[in-house]
């Protein structure tokens, strides 16, 4: 496409949306010499992928897949994450856009917060947790999820007693670093960027209006995302699937496919592309969690059109015993005493209608573009299709109707994680083609101090991490630190609440210099998560980064 960019091209880009699409696009741009503002409307990046348990077709743990990317994005010198923010206005031309960002207050000072959790512990106000689909409560002072990026608490302004009624204020009193800041105000930021990428993702189309399925009325009818949270270890029931009505394990679970998809009567005639696969995955996981369970999927067509997908469905059927019944269910009945659900279907072998009873029913709801996108599309004058998804061009599949504004992920069409990651790369390529004359120009770079001369004898520093309560809840930290001091060559031992937090890393750097430590052992999570992080601390302190060892006491002990 002809480069119609303004001669003064900005080497910065704006990525709107911090889900997997936005994260991947930000990384693909920042790693090729551009500065990226990553905008996210909630308090943490991660999007829907952070809410999933396992992902098809490999059954990889979703958080394990996204965490390394979250860490990369958090640490990247050239990615600036702006949470609680939205794009208010876009003016200018491709290559030289002026954007206006509206940032809502977090009411917590990010520089001071060490994510200790004391505010949430003391907070008296409970609200249904949207992350868990309302199946559990969280406090008004909260962390979106345990691996949130940025790992900083936030205060829910709508529900905070102090902010709404001037009462309470307990969190401010209890915070050990005085990070609570009730007086924070909304901010408006004016930025200049060369390209914009929209990755605002999707939401489920299911609402209380869909009464015929009993959603939000019958307690044991849940949405696909609610069920996903039930399956998750960080979910409302600690990874155990339970009936919301009585807390017991459901033995008979049914999935109803194409709820609000392929449904012309609701003006939602299109297909949401991924529900066939995620239902199969949820059914397989259910059978794994409880071998006595019965998993049944009611479907119209099995859309397993991706690489390895048909194989997955076959294994679900043959190996895991998931029952597939071809029947479009349009209504769910309640058995009031047990709160079981009754599904009426046609049995092809008996050649008549039958009623089948289930303890729990999962609705595989269709997708719609994220609520905020409708507004955004209007303000930016982006063309959408009749169902609100961004329209693109056949020859330029990630271009929106507005030059210099690109799109990726479910904002364009419902799609799965691999296709989203691929599209994010393509959007980055288009943005890069636009602003490439400014490559490397608007990025920040860091100089590493030279390595200093070390003592000949090893002087080992041992840092034991609490990891909040993940390690401290099981391991006696004091005793461990005392023990470490007795080991040969150990010159210093200490402990930290969260070794990976910024202020701890700064402390570590200072200690390495002051105590002339020339080898570091951090007893914490795993090298997979934070080894490069700790190695960079060593480098900043003038120590060779290979003189580092991580003892995985979280993974192996607690």
């Amino acid at each position: 496409m002809k480069n119609t960019a303004h001669p003064h091209i900005s080497g910065k880009a704006l990525v709107v949306g911090g889900g997997i699409g936005g994260i991947q696009c930000a990384l693909d741009l920042a790693d090729t010499g551009f500065y990226v503002y990553l905008l996210e409307k909630s308090a943490s990046v991660g999007g829907t992928m952070a809410r999933l348990d396992k992902t098809f077709p490999t059954n990889d743990c979703s958080t394990c897949m996204i965490s390394p990317k979250l860490v990369q994005v958090a640490r990247h010198r050239n990615i600036e994450i702006l949470t609680l923010s939205r794009l208010a206005a876009l003016n200018g031309e491709p290559g030289n856009f002026r954007v206006q960002i509206e940032k809502q207050p977090r009411y917590v000072d990010q520089e001071k917060c060490i994510a200790c959790g004391a505010c949430a512990q003391k907070c008296p106000q409970k609200v249904p947790d949207p992350f868990n689909g309302g199946l559990s409560m969280r406090k008004a002072a909260y962390l979106t999820f345990p691996q949130a990026v940025p790992l900083k608490y936030a205060i829910d302004a709508q529900n905070c007693l102090y902010l709404t009624r001037g009462k309470c204020g307990l969190c401010r009193r209890i915070c050990p670093t005085r990070a609570i800041a009730y007086d924070q105000q909304p901010e408006t930021l004016e930025l200049t960027v060369g390209a914009v990428v929209l990755c605002t993702g999707f939401e489920l189309a299911l609402t209380r209006q869909n009464g015929e399925y009993g959603y939000d009325r019958y307690r044991n009818v849940v949405s696909s995302l609610q069920y996903e949270r039930m399956l998750s270890a960080t979910g409302p029931y600690g990874g155990h699937v339970r009936r919301p009505s009585d807390g017991r394990t459901p033995h008979r679970v049914a999935w109803i496919q194409c709820v609000l998809s392929r449904d012309p009567s609701r003006n939602r005639p299109f297909c949401s592309a991924v529900c066939c696969m995620h239902a199969a995955k949820q059914a397989v996981l259910t059978r794994q969690h409880d071998p006595d369970s019965q998993a049944t999927i009611y479907f119209m067509d099995v859309r397993a059109h991706g690489k390895g997908f048909d194989d997955y469905i076959e294994r679900a059927r043959a190996h895991y015993g998931v029952h597939y019944k071809r029947s479009m269910i349009s209504q769910v009945y309640l058995e009031p005493d047990s709160e079981a659900l009754i599904i009426e279907t046609f049995d092809h072998h008996l050649n008549r209608k039958v009623e089948e009873t289930y303890d729990l029913v999962v609705l595989s709801s269709g997708f719609k573009p994220s609520e905020a996108f409708g507004d955004l599309a209007k303000r930016l004058e982006i063309d959408t299709n009749p169902y609100g998804f961004a329209l693109t061009d056949f020859q330029h599949p990630v271009h929106t109707s507005r030059p210099g504004v690109f799109v990726c992920g479910a904002t364009e069409t419902p799609k799965d994680i691999p296709e989203t990651v691929i599209q994010a790369g393509a959007a980055a390529a288009e943005a890069a083609a636009l602003v490439h004359p400014a490559r490397h120009r608007d990025v920040t770079s860091e100089t590493t101090p030279p390595e200093r001369a070390l003592d000949a004898e090893p002087r080992i520093g041992v840092f034991v991490c609490h990891c909040g309560s993940n390690i401290a809840g099981v391991v006696d930290i004091e005793k461990t630190v005392a023990y470490a001091k007795t080991l040969p060559h150990v010159a210093y031992a200490d402990h930290f609440l969260f070794s990976c937090s910024n202020d701890t890393l700064q402390k570590m750097e200072a200690l390495i210099r002051d105590k002339r430590l020339n080898r570091i052992v951090v007893a914490a999570c795993s090298p997979r998560t934070h080894e490069p992080l700790f190695q960079s601390v060593l480098q900043k302190a003038g120590v060779n980064p290979y003189l580092f060892e991580l003892a995985s006491i979280r993974d192996q002990c607690s």
Binding site: D28, D31, T32, G33, T55, P57, M65, P68, R262, P264, P269, F270, C271, S272, A273, D301, R303, A304, H305, G306, K307, G308, D310, D311, R326, H348, N385, T392, F394, H396, V398, I417, P418, V421, I422, Q423, A424, G425, A426, A428, A429, E430, A432, A433, L454, P458, I460, V462, K479, T480, Y483, L487, P488, R519, V521, Y546, L547, E549, A551, I553
Partner: protein, 440 residues
């Protein structure tokens, strides 16, 4: 405590190591000039990088040249023309038609190879590779294909619908069979595009002759996302869709010169026989024959069916496990044109991460050969999954630090114990184990 004791024992024996730095060749290599290859090449060229685009045929466009139109009414041929024009005139693209890559070695950022062109062999240097060797249509052997001119594939029908409208209008009874050469024992994957192709042609036929009797025999209709709207339209226009039983698929035979198809409808368990004018087979997609040669040359893994196997399905869908090599288009898996274009740009962007740098560093935790001990037995050369070791001029194994991924396999396998893995040396490991098993 045991873990910490073990860790401190190793820490005491750690050595300071330096990362290795080398210069990056800021040129890309794209193998295959179909729409995936052309798009990847342009994506790199538009960002200011030089690109070698190597195509074994004498012309550009690959399989897309056989396609007449998409379900949504777009033109693949117009796309091919648009891409070809840009390729031929882009100053950053070095196009090599009628050429093949015949040699390849090196590592990410610094590859060296040779292409055999119509005028001899040319040595080239490149920092990253995008494999876009493409795909082609399965040629059916079932359902009397090739033995009766009334049996055609969707691609053949599409072409005939462009040139022979009178013939098309004269058709009275047409049957389409889905999943031909897909979702079976030999090729268990779904070819993704065929349901849409059938719906597209069904709508075209209905447009030409609303009175036509059109039956589609399918297993699942996979018109996902907004393609569903066209499926809905086809049903509303009176196209009949019947589910067949995969274990008892439709049968085609001739009865007094008339073509007949018999099948059992899976929903009603009723048997049907239809006399037809035309039988259209939705034949699947296969990776191109040439991909095997590239897989061999670049040491890339493939699936059983011959598609290239990416590094990670979710996190790295366009990357190969070997650093610096990327994949796009049908060479990876069956996909629609827009999906191929997207994938090609994405692969190019991953390649750009390498090409945009002046230098690269590699981890110092790499394998080192003690030349005194090496007997050139070739074990390391054979076991390395990344093709790093080679026997150098001195007659002993050389492992370039930038090619080594530090996996340690050669270190463990070397019968002479000549290889050390830096940062995981024997004394570091044994100290750790001894400390772990000590009684405190």
């Amino acid at each position: 405590m045991d873990l910490i004791r073990a860790s401190t024992a190793r820490a005491a024996r750690l050595e300071a190591l330096s990362d290795h730095t080398y210069s990056v060749t800021k040129t890309g290599l794209v193998i295959g000039a179909g729409i995936a290859g052309m798009t990847a090449a342009l994506a790199l060229a538009d960002q200011g990088f030089a690109v070698h685009l190597v195509e074994k045929e004498g012309s550009l466009g690959g399989f897309a040249n056989n396609l007449t139109g998409t379900l949504e009414g777009n033109s693949p041929v117009a796309l091919v023309h648009a891409l070809a024009e840009r390729i031929k005139t882009h100053r950053n693209v070095h196009l090599h038609l009628g050429s093949q890559l015949v040699a390849h070695r090196g590592h990410m950022g610094a590859f060296a190879g040779a292409i055999r062109t119509t005028s001899g062999e040319e040595a080239i240097q490149y920092g990253a590779v995008v494999v876009a060797t493409g795909g082609s249509a399965y040629t059916p052997t079932e359902y009397l294909y090739g033995r009766d001119e009334r049996v055609v594939t969707q691609v053949e029908l599409s072409r005939r619908l462009q040139t022979d409208l009178d013939w098309a209008r004269g058709l009275r009874q047409v049957v389409m069979i889905q999943c031909v050469g897909s979702r079976n024992e030999a090729f268990p994957f779904c070819s993704r595009v065929c349901c849409s192709a059938a719906v597209k042609n069904a709508l075209l036929l209905k447009e030409l002759n609303p009175g036509i009797n059109l039956v589609v025999l399918y297993r699942d209709v996979r018109t996902f996302a907004f393609k569903e709207l066209y499926y809905l339209k086809a049903r509303r226009r009176g196209v009949l869709f019947f589910r067949y039983i995969p274990q008892a698929p439709p049968e085609v035979h001739r009865e007094n010169g008339t073509l007949v198809v018999d099948f059992t409808d899976r929903s009603s368990h009723q048997d049907f026989g239809i006399q037809l004018d035309l039988l259209v087979l939705s034949a699947g997609i296969r990776p191109n024959a040439g991909s095997a040669q590239i897989a061999d040359l670049l040491k890339l893994p493939t699936t059983e069916e011959g598609f290239f196997l990416e590094a990670h399905v979710k996190l790295r869908p366009v990357e190969m496990a070997t650093a610096g090599i990327f994949i796009a288009g049908l060479a990876h898996s069956p996909r629609f044109i827009e999906e191929t274009l997207t994938m090609a740009k994405s692969a190019a962007q991953q390649a750009a991460k390498i090409l945009c740098r002046g230098q690269m560093t590699t981890s110092a935790a790499v394998a080192e050969v003690d030349e005194q001990k090496c007997t050139a037995c070739l074990v390391c050369v054979r076991v390395c999954p990344f093709g790093a070791p080679y026997i150098g001029d001195e007659g002993v194994s050389c492992i370039p630090p930038s090619a080594c991924m530090g996996c340690g396999i050669c270190t463990a396998e070397c019968p002479a114990g000549a290889i050390t893995l830096k940062h995981s040396t024997d004394d570091q490991i044994t100290a750790k184990i001894d400390a772990l098993l000590e009684n405190p």
